[in-house]
């Protein structure tokens, strides 16, 4: 009697760590779990908690007062607006580049394909000073715009340009694999039923690309609102006119306004959280529609 009860309770005697996982004989669970928990806590959880704690110390009114300072609201509007415009630009050109890379054969295609990732590999500060030099009123490209009285560098147009460049790969790399995997039978059916190429693209191909396109666009938008290195050189950084949100954090830190800086940072985190949530909801809705079809 006692023997059976002791053998029955034997599995329960195992450590709490082992009870977390479900049967696998491979060793190293404890070690890899330990390393993971330690590193994630030190690098991610603790810094996040500290920032949330710093912001809660200033209370809701303090947070709201920081966010509604005229200089901060101007920066929020500018950052969101320029990121949105850059997103629209890249939705058009990113899809076009993905289309060209998947559908056509031309000389230099593999080079173009490799160069798509350049903005991910090139340090943002390098992109920033290069664009600022090129588009300055006396720069190689800027002097042409100057003839038409258009100033690109040191205005919001420059911010838009830098954001388009650094976030370009997101949409191409999101759309490209979906387009390559897209079965040609859909287009054949559409052609047989008498649709022209434009109608086929609009009604058959685009709906298939839409989830990936929106995913890429959302990721791109989130990245663009937080982008710093490439923008500050070309933006001009005039308060109320061409000052982006991340720069507000830097200038608040330079004035030792740590709480103000963390309030703005928390607001930026909220923005990216809302974006990621929206993408997920839209994707879920789209997949349901496709599933119901």
């Amino acid at each position: 009697m006692s023997a059976t009860s002791s053998s029955a309770s034997k599995p329960l005697k195992k450590g709490w760590l082992t009870r977390l996982r479900q049967r696998n004989v491979l060793p190293g669970f404890g070690l890899s779990m330990g390393i993971t928990v330690f590193s994630l806590s030190l690098l991610v959880v603790l810094p996040f908690a500290m920032m949330a704690y710093t912001t809660t110390q200033m209370g809701w009114t303090g947070f709201w007062e920081t966010i509604t300072q005229p200089q901060v609201t101007a920066a929020i509007k500018l950052s969101l607006w320029m990121s949105f415009l850059a997103m629209l630009t890249n939705m058009v050109f990113g899809t076009l580049v993905a289309w060209v890379l998947v559908r056509y054969e031309f000389w230099g295609k593999s080079l173009i394909n490799a160069l798509v990732d350049l903005p991910f590999a090139l340090p943002t500060a390098v992109t920033g000073i290069s664009l600022a030099t090129l588009y300055a009123p006396n720069g190689l490209i800027g002097q042409w715009f100057a003839k038409f009285d258009i100033q690109v560098a040191f205005t919001p147009i420059g911010i838009w340009l830098a954001l388009v460049v650094v976030s370009f790969p997101f949409i191409v790399r999101a759309v490209q694999p979906v387009l390559a995997e897209l079965s040609v039978e859909f287009e054949e059916a559409s052609a047989v039923l008498g649709a022209n190429r434009f109608t086929t693209f609009r009604k058959v191909i685009l709906p298939e690309l839409l989830p990936a396109l929106l995913m890429g666009a959302g990721m791109m938008f989130a990245r663009a609102t937080g982008e710093y290195g490439s923008v500050i050189f070309i933006a001009g950084n005039i308060p109320m006119q061409s000052e982006i949100l991340p720069l507000i954090i830097i200038s608040k830190l330079e004035q030792f306004d740590v709480q103000g800086a963390s309030a703005v940072a928390l607001f930026m985190l909220l923005i990216s959280f809302v974006i990621l949530l929206t993408i997920n909801i839209v994707q879920w809705k789209l997949s349901r529609r496709v599933g119901a079809r």
């Binding site: 890899s32 289309w99 998947v102 290069s130 079965s183 990245r223």
Partner: protein
């Protein structure tokens, strides 16, 4: 990596575009890429060499530049091994076991990708800054983290640590653990299994992840800019010195350092291409061995299914 297929869209009437549409699209796409990406890249080298070789070399052997290059290399040398161990551990944990909280691990792993670098830097300033509890305590012990090298290393770790795990997880997921199980059954110890079975299987993905990590670690600007505090010659990495030189109107120095970073980016892209090609060749080989030779090449070359037309 990249998905490509060898389907000839232009010889199928249903997927064929009119030649002039095709030409216009190719011209617009290539022009966009040239104006947005290629010209800024070339401009870096042009500006760097504009005033001649001597000035270029002189601005690279300048003591401040040498210090910055040294600090960048030191940071990468610390961050890479740590990232390798972390990446392998996280990928091993996520792909080899079912456990509660796995979703939490993968979510936390993706977080650094969606956080602005400036916010990342700020978080470490708040955590280890001199007026924080932890920072003050460490300062009392004689450790300075923020505005010093450890802060730069921590901020760089934060922005780079998902790279290795993100490369390893999909690969280790598809490979499964049957080979490791077999090794254990044959009497190998855990470490023997890791060295002789797991590591050879993941070595290329690991290398690729480390190359991406290296590119980002050497080029990170926003996060490092916040934690470094810009003490001249002491805590400047290469991208930070680029900013200082540029703001001092010392354009040759700024672009000379930038040209080194741009060359690193080009090497990274080149390695990425070579590895993609190698993988495609390996994949094509295994495809030929596994699948029946009479299967046609379709738009879905990767997954031959019943919907493929003969």
């Amino acid at each position: 990596m990249q998905i490509s297929n060898s389907y000839d869209y232009q010889s199928n009437p249903a997927t064929k575009d009119t030649p002039w549409i095709r030409r216009i699209f190719i011209v617009i796409a290539v022009l966009f890429m040239v104006v947005m990406l290629v010209i800024p890249l070339l401009a870096v080298f042009y500006e760097a060499f504009k005033s001649g070789w001597q000035l270029y070399i002189a601005s690279l052997v300048d003591p401040e530049a040498v210090e910055a290059i040294k600090l960048t290399l030191i940071t990468a040398a610390i961050v890479l091994p740590i990232n390798m161990v972390l990446g392998i551990a996280i990928a091993w944990l996520v792909t080899r076991y079912q456990f509660k909280g796995k979703q939490l691990v993968t979510t936390l792993l993706d977080l650094p990708f969606s956080v602005s670098p400036v916010v990342a830097g700020l978080m470490f300033v708040l955590l280890f800054g001199l007026n924080s509890t932890l920072g003050g305590w460490l300062e009392g012990m004689g450790f300075q983290i923020i505005y010093a090298v450890p802060g730069i290393v921590l901020a760089t770790l934060f922005v780079t640590f998902p790279f290795v795990a993100r490369e390893l997880i999909p690969l280790m997921q598809t490979q499964g653990d049957s080979e490791e199980q077999a090794a254990l059954t044959l009497g190998a110890t855990g470490w023997q299994t890791f060295w002789h079975v797991t590591l050879p299987n993941i070595k290329w993905a690991l290398l690729y992840g480390l190359i991406l990590t290296n590119a980002r670690a050497m080029g990170e600007f926003g996060a490092v800019s916040v934690v470094s505090g810009h003490i001249r010659g002491e805590t400047n990495t290469m991208p930070l010195l680029v900013e200082i030189a540029y703001n001092d109107y010392n354009f040759t120095a700024a672009f000379a350092l930038s040209s080194l970073l741009a060359a690193l980016a080009l090497v990274t892209l080149l390695i990425q291409q070579v590895m993609t090609k190698l993988q495609e060749r390996k994949f094509a080989k295994s495809e030929r061995l596994v699948s029946a030779p009479e299967l046609p090449v379709s738009a879905n070359a990767t997954v031959p299914t019943s919907q493929d037309k003969p």
